[in-house]
Symmetry: none
Subunit: 418 residues, 2 copies
Amino acid sequence: MKAQIISIGDELLIGKTLNTNAAFIGNLLTENQINVTKISVVGDDEQSIKDAFEYSSKNFDVAIVTGGLGPTHDDITMKCIKEFFETELIENEKILENIKSIFARRGREVTDINKEQALVPKCSEPIPNIMGTAPGSWIEKDGWIFISMPGVPSEMEMMFSKYVLPKLIERRGEVADITKSKTFSTTGIPESTLFEKLGDLTTLLNGGKVAFLPNQFGVKVRVNATAATNEEADNKITEIEQRIRTIVGRYIYTCKEETLEEVVARLLTDRGLTIATAESCTGGALANRLTNISGSSIFFNRGVVTYSNGAKVELLRVDEDMIDKHGAVSIEVARQMAEGIRSTSGTDIGIATTGIMGPKSDFSDKPVGLVYIGICDENMVTAKEFRFGENRLLNKDRTSQAALEMLRRCILGIEYDQ
Amino acid sequence: MKAQIISIGDELLIGKTLNTNAAFIGNLLTENQINVTKISVVGDDEQSIKDAFEYSSKNFDVAIVTGGLGPTHDDITMKCIKEFFETELIENEKILENIKSIFARRGREVTDINKEQALVPKCSEPIPNIMGTAPGSWIEKDGWIFISMPGVPSEMEMMFSKYVLPKLIERRGEVADITKSKTFSTTGIPESTLFEKLGDLTTLLNGGKVAFLPNQFGVKVRVNATAATNEEADNKITEIEQRIRTIVGRYIYTCKEETLEEVVARLLTDRGLTIATAESCTGGALANRLTNISGSSIFFNRGVVTYSNGAKVELLRVDEDMIDKHGAVSIEVARQMAEGIRSTSGTDIGIATTGIMGPKSDFSDKPVGLVYIGICDENMVTAKEFRFGENRLLNKDRTSQAALEMLRRCILGIEYDQ
């Protein structure tokens, strides 16, 4: 089954929007043994869109189209579908109900141009959109499968995962060679160190393949193995996993599609532990990541963002003399902040960040990228020093990631080294 | 001059790498009056690459190809060029010198596979790579211009800006028409309402074009105007801008490439105002966005994330009876939180969020997506009700965006309506 992704939108051609939709779809199709052999991006132009449909119908088994389904004049995908498939548009009762209920929930009235979004191609099976107003379409013609979805990422992602992908997998049928892959998310170890520690990859992988994907949150190690059966492929992956875990297991926080905050949230919830955060340099990023988790009110009691020294003294009882002596960015202040937030909030764990995020330094002689993270539970209080880069936003990401990793290690009783 | 971008690489098809190269090229070409009419992504596969070359030579004036020029087994672009153009590869002295000097600088020896990168198509003009070892190629055939560059972003960007773009502009010649564009970032008004308020677009635009780009932070309205001279095009844009501002000016927070927090940070800094945040439902997202701005310590004094009711009472002096009576998610509590954070921190402005972010409801009968935002300065305290959707992360984005917009309006004295 050869699939093509067709992304529609001028904003993609002129480079104002990154094509994250194609990446999202490409990733999920590949993981499910459906080959993406081409991605095409065309503008909001009738001829270009129809040409792309025509080429796809002749060269690929599946076309997955995103974009151009909104309510305004430059959204012309539905018109192109109507004309390309020589079909008509008919009002769909269920879709109209969905549009009305979305507007009702937001306390707004349904306008005529919104009602038009309930018009679907007669030759199609409409795909529901539970996140928005524009429905998708599934059309089949002479063995070619054509799928149209909105370009708004959240709507497309939900629609693709819930309706499109399962149906495509069903239609794909059994595949001859099975390729399985597993991704290990590591943090706190640089790509080159990881690479060196893993040693000879030929031995390690035994016919499998590996890719290293680094970003500011850590390095993901993706392993692939191909075999004749599901079981064989799984066994190969398990063998490779055992070898990798023996060498660098402590740095791996998950092998699922989940974030470090999801892992930490589960650990806290399972153990019935509560936490409070005291942030200076991360400015709320750490609390934000913890509260991204649904149900976080169970473990997250409160957070403070003590940007000014006054706030550190008033809210966290940090010793003013200590700040004068060592500076707000110091191991001593990180430790006192962690102790302060734990004792004032009465939680099991307190965690604190202080550092210089850049791009400019503060007025001390300390370098941009210098960070201290403090952590405190009923048995201990400790703080670690980190040296990050010069980019402010990347430094906030790196610091909140390191803080979450210190939390994970603290809960699991794994020593923290860098 | 119709240009196509062809990006080569399996990693793009399987969604592990975002196609930032195409966005970079598309943006610069558009700014220089060269139309990008298609972007195609193909894998490291000979037939797919040659098919893409063939199609491009027949349908476009220029093909800009990136990727597949590295030294390893899956880099096959040069082989495809050789065969597609029926040419031979010859060693280029200057390129070889460049490779040798790069290796010398890194203290490494030049290997045979690196020397192979000095082989360039006989029919081409080689393009120097001052950041790496793989040269680019400029080939012309029957009026079609073919450009090949490496896929490493830093190398491609330098090569494109320094050599390729100036030469393309020269070849483009004088353009009969100059196109200028301007983007207005709006928030607090849905796409369909914006569209309706703007009324008849033909009159409004007077020959110009408009595109609406919605996401959870608002709707961007991009306007294009074409004219014979730079000045005329600028004048057209100014006219359109005046009409748009008359109708929906209050919703526009910028027409530059900047975020709402950057706008708010500038307003606060210019006026010497200080702020403190009290967040319940946004869980630190608002403080995080404000502290993303370099220099935010000038206006941002502190923030609290009062997830528990206890924290609201202790840190913000919210009335416990009020919480019992109206619930933590209420207009009364939002107002008290804003007053509480302003008075405890001694800042000019206090802002507060409380709501149900979902996907599950709290234990009250209030719906997911219900949000109250309170704001308080020396003259007034007020709070507004919002109804957002069911997606937790999008709701946090929408709430922090609405809070920043209330701040912007408060500072500028623009009334807040929804």
